[in-house]
Symmetry: C2
């Protein structure tokens, strides 16, 4: 595919990253992936592997004229292995299909882009999302992988062994490598029991200290807990005004904690935890979806006011309150007129910082927030990856020795610099 038909593959869905490509190649099986890579490596042509193209950091689009290797046609899914609660899927199978593969099972990773995001892309970027506190990120779901190196070597380990100490765990290495080490063609995924009797609550809380303590208490005292998310009144106000949402509680709070738990005692456990605090409770699918919409629409909130700078950072648990409460001030120091919307995941240290800048979006916001996060020992990318967007700030999060190690691993696996050569340092 070339020309106008290729344009949709050359830009990301947010429109922030637009490249151009001489060709989009959409192989139908692993053997075709091998042939494409062999041709490109021989000819010195760089390749960007692409899944559902739902990334947020420009890691899957041809910003430097690369060939786009779209894996969406690798969409075969084997029958679920009921004994192991595992399934083998082509890289192009969407997360929604994985999650629906068996009526009694579910995918441990739940992300907003699940209708388009693919198994291969989610593994390659180690997707996180709304249930990491219970099941871990995508890397933790992987029980096997098939991948093609840039020289055409196919490595495959798909038997789904739970215990296997026979060499290096390259599936874990490829998970999160953002298409720079190999092209993932198939994955073996551990599914989890489908949760029953889910209860969702939104609690109004007067401050982030109390919110964090309450989330920690939930981690301890609510055995069925699967999610602990937060947002603020500032973000909610935008959604109420621009997205037509009714406020979840009769009176405004400072911050809101969304908790979800499953099981026979979930409602009692959550009620005991919340006590006299103002709260909305959802038990039906419709009520739960309504409560989740406050959290799940937050990524759009800043976009109602302008073109946002979207940052995604994490810190050690003990510093989460500082990050969540001081991020807006750190932005204000370099852009006093900016609007800052914070929301995200409480229990795993992860805050999304979306900024509507008043000053030019020339990197000053990233400089400020990432330096602050680095001073707290944190990560400049909790979930989204480095991609094109964050490469220049990687030294804030990773030492020269670590970056040199990355380069050594990368040269070993892709000596021709064929795979996504402009992402991460070489």
């Amino acid at each position: 595919m070339t020309g106008a038909a290729a344009a949709g593959f050359a830009a990301d869905w947010t429109g922030r990253f637009r490249g151009n490509t001489p060709a989009v190649v959409r192989p139908r099986d692993t053997a075709e992936v091998v042939r494409v890579l062999a041709l490109c490596a021989d000819a010195g042509i760089a390749v960007v592997p692409q899944g559902g193209n739902t990334g947020l950091v420009g890691g899957g689009v041809p910003l430097h004229g690369e060939v786009v290797l779209s894996l969406v046609r690798l969409d075969q899914m084997d029958p679920v292995d009921a004994e192991a609660s595992q399934v083998t899927a082509g890289a192009g199978v969407t997360l929604r299909r994985l999650a629906a593969a068996d009526p009694d099972l579910h995918l441990g990773v739940l992300i907003a882009s699940r209708d388009s995001a693919t198994a291969g892309g989610a593994v390659a970027t180690n997707a996180g999302g709304l249930r990491v506190l219970r099941y871990g990120p995508m890397r933790a779901q992987v029980r096997g992988i098939e991948a093609v190196l840039s020289d055409g070597t196919v490595v495959s380990h798909l038997a789904g062994l739970v215990k296997d100490n026979t060499g290096y765990d390259y599936p874990s290495l490829l998970a999160g490598s953002e298409g720079t080490l190999a092209v993932i063609t198939r994955v073996r995924i551990q599914l989890v029991p489908r949760l029953r009797r889910l209860v969702t609550v939104i609690v109004g809380v007067p401050g982030l200290d109390e919110l964090h303590a309450l989330a920690r208490q939930a981690m301890r005292d609510v055995p069925g807990l699967v999610s602990a998310e937060f947002f603020t009144q500032a973000g909610l106000d935008i959604l109420v005004e621009h997205a037509g949402l009714a406020p979840p509680l009769p009176s405004p709070a400072c911050v809101y904690l969304l908790l979800e738990a499953s099981g026979a005692s979930a409602l009692d456990d959550l009620a005991g935890l919340i006590g006299e605090r103002p709260a909305a409770v959802g038990e039906t699918a419709a009520d739960r979806a309504r409560l989740w919409s406050y959290r799940e629409r937050h990524p759009e909130a800043a976009g109602f006011l302008g073109v946002p700078v979207k940052l995604d950072v994490s810190v050690p648990a003990a510093r989460w309150v500082r990050l969540a409460s001081e991020a807006a001030g750190v932005v204000a120091d370099v852009d006093p007129g900016a609007t800052v919307v914070t929301f995200g995941h409480v229990a795993d240290g992860n805050v999304h910082v979306n900024i509507v800048p008043a000053q030019p979006a020339d990197g000053r916001h990233e400089d400020a927030v990432f330096s602050f996060v680095a001073s707290l020992g944190g990560s400049i990318s909790a979930e989204h990856g480095i991609g094109a967007l964050k490469a220049r700030w990687l030294p804030l999060a990773r030492s020269a020795a670590e970056r040199a190690l990355f380069a050594r691993i990368r040269s070993a696996l892709d000596p021709t610099a064929t795979l996504n050569p402009h992402i991460l340092p070489r």
Copy 2:
């Protein structure tokens, strides 16, 4: 340390692997590890990193005259980070100390050698053990690592971030690498809530099909399940005769399932599962320890009859019954007079096959069992690693392409072939 004082470091605890070493070096900090490795790499001297020397495959002893780099003096442990439920420990800290670091927390990995096995060794070999079905193996407990490459480079990522997508996950790569890629000097470990109200049961079952089905049902219906182990009447008979254990149940069974669960409903959940089957139940620490002794003494059982060949294999869940029921017959085909004791972990596909040979232990037993396991799509080393013992059979479990990938990774990290050069293929 040299000469006679070094001898204890040159042989493994089983006595099967005896080497010799020009020197045992026991650095007190990471800087000393750097200096030792720099000296050895420069001089072309091979090094075997060693933790508690509790390995079973000869991966930690100097079988080819290597210098032994013992990490046991790296035994500093930081205070537990209560907010994150994590702790940073030197490589030489024992698993028992890690597990006892906080009265409300525990280590997710529980192995028989916990008094001697070290944090660094357990990560380097990706130790498994008795609670993998609940918490995963040692790799799953790692939230950060500090390690020294053979060129003296120190890489460190110890902040304990739960979500961090900023480059390659080298801690997962080093986990299970058996000392061939880097020397692990410190680890950041996620601890788990200390389990309360533990209940242990041993159930007598007439056959392996029913035992496996019962274990699967327990995985589904007993939310507090942490262990599902098995052993057979044949192994029990040996322990009754030679170790003085009284039988756990009034009448013999064909096979025995040991289940352990925690929480308020554990006893009811287990009772409901067991139904009318013969069972012994332990709720006190003493009773639980007594029941566990049947399982935990099984590794010794074959040793009462001779010098055993100890194999440790796993298969996909759907083939576990075949492995567990046919392993003895596979051995009998090549050694009709051999005694075979099988036991191990039901829920994760892992069976320990201990053989008291009648024919020479010249590899015929490994050939037979490993070929059988490979035909089932299984692993020739579920927990113990490849080490010196299994290197020649690795091609049964890993393709030429995979082994070449291992070699590429290895050359990238240890180009001077300083680290454990005789373990795994180069």
